[in-house]
Symmetry: C2
Subunit: 120 residues, 2 copies
DNA sequence: GTATCATATCAGTGATTGATGATACGATGA
DNA sequence: TCATCGTATCATCAATCACTGATATGATAC
């Protein structure tokens, strides 16, 4: 895959984006933009299973996108940095103009089938 | 996976981030931040195979992150919007502070093994 | 101490991803 | 026209991902 040295930190940057590149994780992060929530509150808000939310939170936490604050037997999660919010806001702004393209994108990052072709 | 209605466009946003969430694609996009390039120039710059670059460009193009401009038998690619550059710059800024966490992140978006655990 | 609640971890699995090599397509120049 | 260059597409495949269900851990209440 090359990038053995990766002096530009490309792999790390890619990881950050991939952290936000899953609907479930993004749903969690997006929900947290409204303020800190516990795991069970996130489970309710997102409709995902508890173990699924916990797994994704583990990823987001490891990646530094969210921080965890134990409160008794609950754990309160919040976005780790305002720039996480900014990142999503910027993406939304961009999507306002190129959304159609993204909808039609079926290569990689696809929903149904790989390497789908565009209109013939 | 829920998100049947997706009134917030979460799946689309996730796709956008995932478009940037692969080292090869990010390498291409990052290279294009320096200015428009043809496919073969991108092949040289990234060290990826021609078919691989072309496939990723197809994804990025479909997603609206880059635009293609045929020039004879070459095709010139460029970032479709300044905000694509801003998005990466913002991510870099964020990474300057949370990079360590991302390095250590081995869940999903992982490099070696799935659901890797943090230090025992 | 025991029961219960909240969260985290684990094993297993189907589906998706990203890469490769071969090939097709289209445009240019000889 | 033919050869060649530049790009796109295709088939295939190993590796990874995200999910589920079960279980472990840890904290509070009784």
């Amino acid at each position: 895959m090359l990038f053995t040295t990766d002096s530009t930190g490309l792999a790390v940057k890619a990881k950050l984006f991939r952290g936000l590149g899953d609907p479930s994780r993004l749903s969690i992060v997006d929900t947290l933009r409204g303020g800190p929530l516990t795991v069970s509150e996130l489970v309710t808000a997102t409709g995902l299973s508890q173990s699924n939310v916990s797994n994704h939170l583990g990823c987001l936490r490891d990646c530094g996108l969210v921080t965890a604050e134990p409160q008794g037997r609950r754990v309160l999660y919040r976005l780790s940095d305002d720039r996480v919010d900014e990142l999503i806001a910027l993406a939304e702004s961009l999507l306002a103009d190129v959304a159609r393209g993204v909808y039609e994108c079926t290569r990689y990052a696809a929903v149904n089938g790989t390497q789908g072709s565009r209109l013939p």
